[in-house]
């Protein structure tokens, strides 16, 4: 059983920021094909800002909720765009899901993770199959929940989430976009992975490593 405190969560943002930054050019290139070529920039900017904002907090004196809300706000203000409200809402919902806790156990962490996916869903109103980051986040959240329910620990649960996110992102190639910028392309969006789904895999994998590694 892992125990996650605010310092660990701050480390999680540092890990995501590093992963997304390394992935920046690929994400921009994916977005260039069916969008406006800036998704890597937005994610890089957003997670760098979130990392810096939470690093500036005194982790010992900050509860996970405050930390996640701080990350949300700084991500949003640094980015705007689509990713801004989506990830900001994700973290705000994650924050609400762990309200009152000072540390998170496996179930708390999975609850936070699922709340994040729900936040993205509520903010963007994308249904599965519309070729958005939801197509990675929704199956990932479901897989994590099922793994935990079947008695798995956080490492395995988030491992399942990564696998599901990967499959979900892969599946966006066969979808016609119905939300976001790519939705105007019609059939021309076919065959290309959605950049937001691609970055979701990177984010979730970084979360897995940071929270369970």
């Amino acid at each position: 059983m892992t125990t996650i405190d605010s310092a660990r969560l701050a480390g999680m943002f540092a890990a995501i920021a590093a992963a997304v930054s390394a992935d920046r050019d690929r994400l921009c290139a994916l977005d260039g094909i069916i969008g406006d070529a800036d998704h890597g920039i937005a994610m890089d900017l957003g997670f760098s800002a979130a990392r810096d904002a939470v690093a500036a907090l005194d982790a010992a004196a900050t509860d996970p909720t405050t930390l996640l809300n701080t990350a949300a706000k700084s991500f949003l203000n640094a980015v705007g765009a689509s990713s801004g409200p989506l990830y900001a809402t994700a973290f705000m919902r994650g924050a609400a899901a762990v309200k009152g806790k000072t540390t998170l156990d496996d179930a708390d962490a999975v609850a936070m993770f699922q709340a994040m996916a729900k936040g993205i869903q509520d903010r963007g109103k994308a249904e599965p199959g519309e070729k958005t980051m939801m197509d990675a986040w929704a199956p990932a959240a479901q897989a994590a929940g099922e793994a935990l329910a079947s008695g798995k620990g956080l490492a395995d649960s988030l491992g399942a989430a990564v696998q599901a996110a990967k499959a979900g992102a892969e599946a966006t190639k066969a979808m016609i976009a119905a939300k976001g910028r790519a939705s105007r392309l019609g059939e021309r969006s076919l065959g290309h992975m959605d950049p937001g789904a691609a970055s979701a895999v990177t984010v979730i994998e970084a979360m897995r490593v940071a929270l369970t590694g």
Binding site: A37, D38, I41, A78, A81, S82, G84, P85
Partner: protein, 335 residues
């Protein structure tokens, strides 16, 4: 090899640009202390007037902040390059221009902008500022006719914001301003064509690939793919292809009046735009549609992208009054 740009640091480009804009236009524009991405008209916002807040990503200059000024928009919220501004600067704009008669949010219909402006509207509501939103959806290439509400807002913003700004400046009611803004959008039709990509200051890599003899019809102003890729054609053929679609939707009758905008996406020079305008004039003459006014130049760009768009704005008496209403902005004057 990175594309060439006269910049310092790609990550600082938007803020440095804003500093340069405020330096150039102190009589027209100011920013809000502590919210440098909120640009307000020095003259315009006033008690009892519906406030007009526009905005969107950077990289489309003179959109959006060039259209901030007396008679047009009261404020613009500025995002990163091709990225909606976040809610905070939008909210600051709303607060700064609210005259107690309501605030209109107007911007192009993009998922990112909708989410951020909606969040800002909710926050404004908590501050007792009533906000209504009119999205521009003038890009006929971006969704079928029966899904007009899904279309993108592009260069036609120029006419749509102009009409709304005039309505606000004439102290019309919130309902009337909203109605006129919506009508202006319904009367505005744009098609674009792109010839070469642009590159974001942060990456300095072309944002899409296109063959040396190709063009993309219907491309969006952020380089989003359009309707079709094809061989580059002549100016008349390109103009016809765009006009055919626009006219098909607008379905003008003989004697109808329009305003015309031939807009460069960035690096297509005036010579080419005016050659296109020549064809527009001939085509409209042929079908007995009269041209009330024409604008040709850089109005809604995509950094240094090569290409152009054509917008027709169908006028009735009311929209003509709004179009002719004077405005005095940092980068645009009329009337």
């Amino acid at each position: 090899m990175q594309t060439k740009k006269i910049i310092n640091d790609g990550n600082r480009a938007v803020d440095e640009m804003l500093e340069g804009i405020l330096a150039a236009h102190p009589r027209h524009l100011k920013s809000i202390d502590g919210s440098s991405r909120s640009i307000i008209a020095r003259d315009g916002p006033r008690q009892g007037k519906v406030g007009l807040v526009i905005g969107g990503g950077s990289g489309h200059e003179p959109s959006f902040l060039g259209f901030v000024g007396k008679g047009l928009a009261d404020a613009a919220a500025i995002g990163n390059v091709f990225a909606s501004p976040p809610p905070d600067p939008i909210l600051e704009c709303a607060k700064a221009v609210s005259g107690g008669a309501g605030v209109l949010f107007m911007y192009g219909n993009y998922a990112g902008d909708v989410m951020n402006f909606d969040m800002a509207a909710e926050m404004a509501d908590m501050d007792d500022i009533e906000v209504r939103t009119v999205l521009s959806t003038d890009d006929v290439a971006s969704a079928p006719r029966d899904q007009r509400h899904k279309r993108r807002g592009v260069a036609g913003n120029f006419f749509i914001f102009k009409a709304a700004g005039a309505a606000c400046d004439r102290m019309l009611s919130f309902d009337e301003c909203e109605r006129i803004a919506g009508k202006a959008n319904d009367h505005t039709f744009t098609m674009g064509v792109a010839l070469s990509p642009c590159s974001l200051p942060q990456t300095r890599r072309p944002n899409f690939e296109i063959g040396p003899d190709e063009m993309e019809i219907g491309m969006g102003i952020h380089g989003e793919p359009g309707i079709a890729r094809g061989k580059l054609k002549t100016a008349d053929e390109i103009t016809d292809e765009m006009l055919d679609r626009i006219l098909d939707e607008m379905a003008p009758a003989r004697g109808d009046k329009v305003a015309v905008l031939v807009n460069s996406l960035g690096s297509t020079p005036l010579m080419e735009l005016y050659i296109m305008n020549r064809r527009v004039k001939r085509r409209l003459d042929d079908i007995g549609v009269s041209i009330h006014a024409t604008w040709v130049g850089n109005y809604c760009t995509s950094l240094e992208m090569a290409g152009a768009s054509i917008t027709l704005h169908r006028l009735d008496g009311e929209l003509q009054t709004m179009l002719d209403h004077p405005c005095d902005c940092a980068m645009f004057r009329a009337g």
